[in-house]
């Protein structure tokens, strides 16, 4: 297994900066997700690691070896594409064994290995079928088998789950994660689905417009987002944001906006690394960290969305809407007046200008 290091990686297409000065280290055996909206440069990054794109500047290292000039076929990587990219004119067995056949391995050897890896992925009964005769989930397993058969030192997955139906996606999510842990292959996984990244990856790198926003474990990204973008991208339903001012009040601090003011908890104030030049800030609070029923924030229920176990309630204050995740045991109706409060230690604060978090990060201050 190898570690992968991206050093000041840049990839421009004309004026477009698809990847802009990316620095990232992926450890041996690590499962890393590249997460971001479409057009954020995550697939470009993956294709650069695979060797299809030459970096405009910067380097890609496999362990200590710079691989910029090594063609994809010599990098010993396995890759699964979003479209699976099976060869339509070969049956499943030939598809899986293709990498070994190219290496001119004898039929006995490649057949045995192909059957082995097919068994691992539970597709050994499909070996005679043509790709067009397979379901999406089966095709994906074949693509995975083909990527694994040459025992790659690095596995690249480009949105491998996004063509599956919702139910199968959840099954495959768990299976892929387990498989990755069993085989211990360093894996880089591209997705635009934060849920996939959260559930599967050891660490997640969030990208936006070619720039790295934050790298961290799923918990770190969830609890300590580096900026408004990460905070809004991670978690469903997404975090609520309220613009306001950060004011000193005696020995403590107060967040004040048009419709309410709250005294910030001591824990929160402790975490603040620097105070913004202007007092313009954005307060972030996750829907599950808002408590209904008591508190000094008063609003009117705008809409109620039952989701089974929970209910998502949108509360309106003037032109501000806050989503609240509550237990579905209490029933609310539209137009009802409610009061609510924020779990004081869960409040996030961002600079109103730069949208960067004001908090000390557990990791990057270490």
């Amino acid at each position: 297994m190898i570690s992968v290091t991206l050093k000041n990686l840049k990839k421009y297409f004309g004026e477009v900066r698809a990847v802009d000065n990316l620095n990232l280290q992926i450890g041996e055996g690590e499962f890393m997700a590249l997460l971001g909206p479409s057009g954020c440069g995550k697939t470009t990054t993956l294709l650069t690691i695979a060797g299809f794109y030459k970096p405009t500047a910067g380097e890609v290292y496999f362990n200590d070896r710079m691989v910029n000039d090594i063609p994809p076929r010599s990098r010993n990587i396995g890759m699964v594409f979003q479209s699976y990219a099976l060869y339509p004119h070969m049956n499943v067995l030939d598809n899986i064994a293709f990498p070994l056949k190219l290496k001119k391995q004898p039929k006995k050897v490649w057949r045995k290995k192909a059957v082995e890896v097919a068994k691992l992925l539970q597709i050994d009964d499909l070996l005679d079928r043509m790709p067009a005769q397979l379901s999406g989930g089966q095709q994906q397993r074949v693509a995975l088998a083909r990527a694994l058969i040459k025992q790659p030192q690095l596995l690249l997955l480009d949105e491998p789950l996004s063509n599956l139906d919702a139910k199968l996606r959840i099954v495959m999510r768990a299976e892929l994660k387990r498989l990755q842990k069993d085989l211990g292959i360093t894996t880089i996984f591209v997705t635009h689905d934060q849920m996939e990244a959260m559930t599967m990856a050891d660490r997640i790198a969030v990208l936006k417009s070619g720039k790295l926003q934050q790298v961290g474990t799923p918990d770190e990204l969830y609890d300590e987002p580096a900026n408004v973008f990460v905070a809004s991208f991670i978690g469903t339903p997404p975090m609520n944001f309220i613009r306001g001012s950060l004011l000193k009040s005696g020995s403590s601090y107060v967040f004040e906006c048009e419709h309410f003011r709250i005294l910030l908890d001591e824990v929160v104030v402790q975490k603040i690394r620097r105070f913004p030049v202007t007092n313009n800030v954005i307060l972030g609070i996750r829907p599950e960290d808002v408590e209904m029923g008591r508190g000094e924030i008063k609003g009117e229920i705008y809409v109620v969305e039952p989701m089974g176990r929970d209910t998502l309630v949108t509360v309106k204050f003037g032109d501000v809407y806050i989503k609240v995740l509550t237990s579905s045991t209490v029933k609310y109706s539209i137009g009802e007046n409610v009061s609510l409060s924020f779990k004081s230690d869960k409040v996030q604060l961002f600079d109103g200008e730069t949208e960067e978090s004001l908090y000390v990060k557990g990791r990057d201050e270490r």
Binding site: F52, P72, R73, I77, M79, A132, L134, S135, R146
Partner: protein, 272 residues
């Protein structure tokens, strides 16, 4: 009544062409013609060239020698067009290089140039290459006329193959050339058939190149028919029968290759 009017109109428009075709087949299969279209009886006497030598000038030839010459000419031309277009089409579809766009526009421009105006230049070119008066040489010249548009046709087929398939093959260990022949060629079989037919048909139908660049002693079907017209007494039945014979091989080829032409593979994965 009203609903018959469109049909009547269509028949009227189609009539001259239909009469032409009917007349053509009547001539070929009929004997003792009246008014050029009504035969006294049907028979195969016009097809006597199949078992008799064909008199031409002072010499004689047989249909089979001529057919073989024509087949060699058309197949060589088709093969050259296919090989060049398949390689060039892949490169233009997949590889970035300087002047690619210019090259593609140049191909369209070249296609617009009528082949006839190049005859003299090609005559000298073949002469210096010692290929003049030889079927493969003339087939090469003929193929060069169809390559420009053939390249575009081939490029279209390669363009339809998703990048993921190519990338996947390269990850699996293919060189560019291996991607081309192990993955792409099997997937663009309809394209190969289309380009081959393209090259074959134009060579098969060619007259002016064959007439100018091959010696009079080497006859192809097109020049054979022409030489029969250029006599004092024209046997139209004989000529029509020979023309029917001339039509058959391309038709057979078309029927044989249409399966390949229609067989478009399903790319990548489900719904893609």
């Amino acid at each position: 009544m009203r609903r018959w009017i469109p049909y009547i109109l269509l028949v009227l428009i189609a009539l001259p062409f239909l009469v032409m075709y009917v007349g053509f087949f009547m001539q070929a299969f009929g004997e003792g013609m009246h008014l050029g279209i009504i035969p006294e009886k049907f028979g195969f006497s016009n097809f006597r060239f199949l078992w008799q030598p064909i008199a031409w000038g002072l010499g004689k030839t047989t249909i089979w020698v001529t057919l073989l010459n024509t087949l060699i000419f058309a197949c060589v031309s088709g093969a050259i067009v296919t090989v060049v277009c398949m390689l060039a089409g892949y490169a233009l579809s997949r590889i970035e290089f300087k002047g690619r766009d210019f090259f593609m526009i140049l191909q369209l421009f070249l296609h617009a140039v009528p082949g006839h105006i190049l005859l003299i230049a090609i005559f000298f070119l073949l002469f210096y290459l010692k290929l003049l008066h030889r079927i493969p040489g003339v087939a090469l010249a003929r193929a060069s006329l169809e390559i420009p548009l053939g390249v575009w046709i081939a490029k279209g087929f390669f363009d339809s193959i998703p990048w993921d398939i190519e990338r996947s093959a390269m990850i699996d260990g293919c060189t560019r050339l291996q991607v081309w022949y192990k993955i792409f060629l099997p997937l663009v079989k309809p394209g190969i058939a289309a380009v081959f037919i393209w090259g074959f048909l134009f060579a098969w139908h060619d007259f002016i190149y064959v007439y100018t660049l091959l010696p009079g002693t080497v006859k192809l079907l097109s020049t054979l028919i022409q030489s029969l017209i250029a006599t004092e007494v024209i046997d139209y039945g004989y000529l029509a029968a020979l023309s029917v014979f001339y039509m058959v091989p391309p038709l057979v080829l078309f029927v044989y290759l249409q399966k390949a032409l229609l067989k478009v593979p399903i790319f990548g994965g489900k719904g893609l």
